[in-house]
Symmetry: C2
Subunit: 349 residues, 2 copies
DNA sequence: TATGTAATTGAAATCGGTTTCAGACAGTCC
DNA sequence: GGACTGTCTGAAACCGATTTCAATTACATA
């Protein structure tokens, strides 16, 4: 008992196991990893001692002597956004299957944090870094940031979900163009011609790409682009609310609204309701991300889904492959899917 | 150049710095940590070389020789639930201020995962483990699980957000009783007597405690407890929806519904709307957690808030203090607050 | 029984830091 | 000048694993 107290905090090591088994640490290590053959009788004895103490080798020591830590660091913009939490959990599950564990840091969109977190992950000797959202999504890459990432890439593979060029990263990105095409085809197929776009910043690449396809699709259908129908903002409910308020004041009201994400869509819904209009009878609403929010709203939102499980799997596969020195495509695409729910309907106007 | 390529993946060490500065590694270490005095001129020279290479010491090696890793492991039930993501980010920010970094693992409510994650964190030599949600919330502690936690506690402090007894953990929990008191006072103050409770499992301690106070408050106001008004379930929208459907079919309909969390409340709102009733004119709705969902709904939800920033801060403060060997209260409480929005109103029936 | 080969095993080096310990050196005081 | 003090500094041990290398043992074959 008193001995227990004295030992508090001191955990058991491979040498303790070796001593109790009357063998060397090398042999215990071999049993632990199955890295070389050990005489059956001896192996069983050692294994039973390992089990008895539920001994788990110190990951720090292991990481120090091995070349790999079997750890992947993930920097997300903000897990409080369900888009990132869904993607993170998908990565975690995929990583686990591959025998890796993941760490999570939130950059909260602050450049200094992103850089500091890169440094921490580097110090922790993760085998790869996945950065989702934040600076890597900028349409125009910040030079200082690119320089930093380039330095990181020299020792650790970096996989990003955004457009970041100017650094030797691997990219696994959503095919935004395809997503917007799906949305536009859906709306135009329902007879909508007066389509608005709310929320999002043009400095964010994914938003900009969406906007491009929005224009392209309208033009392709001979529909004139109405500048008043595009009201940017951010990615939160307030932004969607404000933008929609502005749009609903227009003389020539649109019959459909595309929100940059589900948050913005929730604000749009509120604004529409407050204007005494119905969804989808008077106005259709579509959004991007298909987070659980889409399912919480009334009416439930038609939204573009990114198949988070597959997306996470692809990110981890890439991280694992690159860190193992395998050749992997620099750029991989993830196909979005349109999930049709109750917020879109035929245009009667 | 070719040299660069050869060195790819090999990062710079304290010995490289020492060699370039013409001193020993010990001296560089002293400059790095300010752990002992080094002659000014020499110190500056070493520092400039450190800066030049942006050298950051290998955290694995450091953790191996130090007693602490300045790392805190967090096991959450599921960060996709905004309750946990809010709390996690609060912890991350608080940890950062204290010079710690945090890791995140999701147990997803699976016992085997919780145990495996405890083992991984132990191997990674985190200075403390914070477990939020999952098994630690059980009203009746699982013996095998308690045994596991007890073993973990022998080497690493564990802080939990739930009721887990039977293991020498530290607990920082929400004062559920106070929360439910606030809710009941609010509703009864608005004239409600027929109050229903939807969602949640009684095997979860926090839910059970809420139920107890629900009963207590009714009795204290001389209101008879109606068993039909309590419909348990889980913590998702569907559960709230199903439970509310059941309740709205009753002859003697309640005038207020308390949902176990914002998710369940969103389902309740949907059911109420589908029954052609209005919130709060016909029925008031209150919920717990005050996640951003409460703000997304129409009407916006009146909900119990846990002050996540302070809660996270308290968790980290406790983790840091305990791992430093300081004496800390075994049980600390966090006070909830009622945030009144648009889903509750005076009872006219 | 002698010999060759394959299977086992442990000593020692290594990973990249920190820290103790003792020696070198400089400055102060009689 | 000698003794004493205090400041700097590096060598070496240590943290807990893995792995190389060489030695030992076991076993099959001639």
């Amino acid at each position: 008992m008193e001995n227990d107290r004295l030992n508090a905090g001191k955990s058991i090591t491979i040498y303790d196991i070796a001593a109790e088994a009357g063998v060397s640490a090398s042999t215990v290590s071999r049993v632990l990893n199955g890295s070389a053959s050990v005489r059956k009788e001896k192996k069983d004895r050692i294994q039973s001692i390992i089990d008895k103490y539920n001994f788990k080798p110190n990951a720090l020591a292991k990481g120090l002597s091995d070349t790999a830590t079997k750890t992947i660091g993930i920097i997300a913009a903000d897990v409080r956004n369900p888009y990132y939490s869904a993607l993170f959990v998908a990565c975690e599950i995929a990583a686990e299957k591959a025998g890796y564990s993941v760490g999570l840091a939130n950059s909260l969109g602050v450049k200094e944090r992103e850089q500091a977190q890169l440094d921490i992950l580097l110090q922790q000797k993760v085998d790869a870094i996945i950065q989702m959202g934040g600076r890597v999504d900028d349409l125009i890459t910040d030079d200082a940031y690119a320089e930093k990432v380039r330095a990181v890439c020299a020792s650790t593979p970096v996989i990003v979900t955004g457009k970041l060029d100017k650094a030797p990263v691997h990219r696994v990105v959503i095919d935004e163009a395809k997503g917007m095409n799906l949305v536009m085809e859906h709306l135009i197929g329902l007879g909508h011609h007066k389509i608005a776009l709310v929320g999002g910043e043009m400095r964010v690449a994914s938003t900009f790409y969406k906007y491009q396809r929005y224009e392209d699709n309208l033009k392709a259908h001979g529909i004139k682009v109405n500048g008043e129908y595009v009201v940017n903002g951010y990615y939160d409910p307030e932004s969607g609310y404000d933008a929609t308020n502005k749009i609903l004041k227009l003389e020539d009201r649109p019959t459909a609204i595309i929100a940059i994400n589900d948050f913005a869509a929730s604000g749009a819904l509120r604004s529409i309701r407050e204007h005494g209009l119905r969804v989808p009878e008077d106005i259709s609403v579509v959004s991007f991300d298909n987070t659980y929010i889409a399912d919480l709203m009334s009416p439930k939102l038609t939204s573009i889904d990114y198949n988070y499980d597959k997306y996470g799997q692809k990110l981890i596969d890439t991280a694992v492959a690159v860190s193992a020195g395998k050749e992997v495509e620099d750029l991989q695409m993830v196909d979005p899917v349109l999930v049709i729910r109750d917020s879109t309907g035929i245009c009667y106007n």
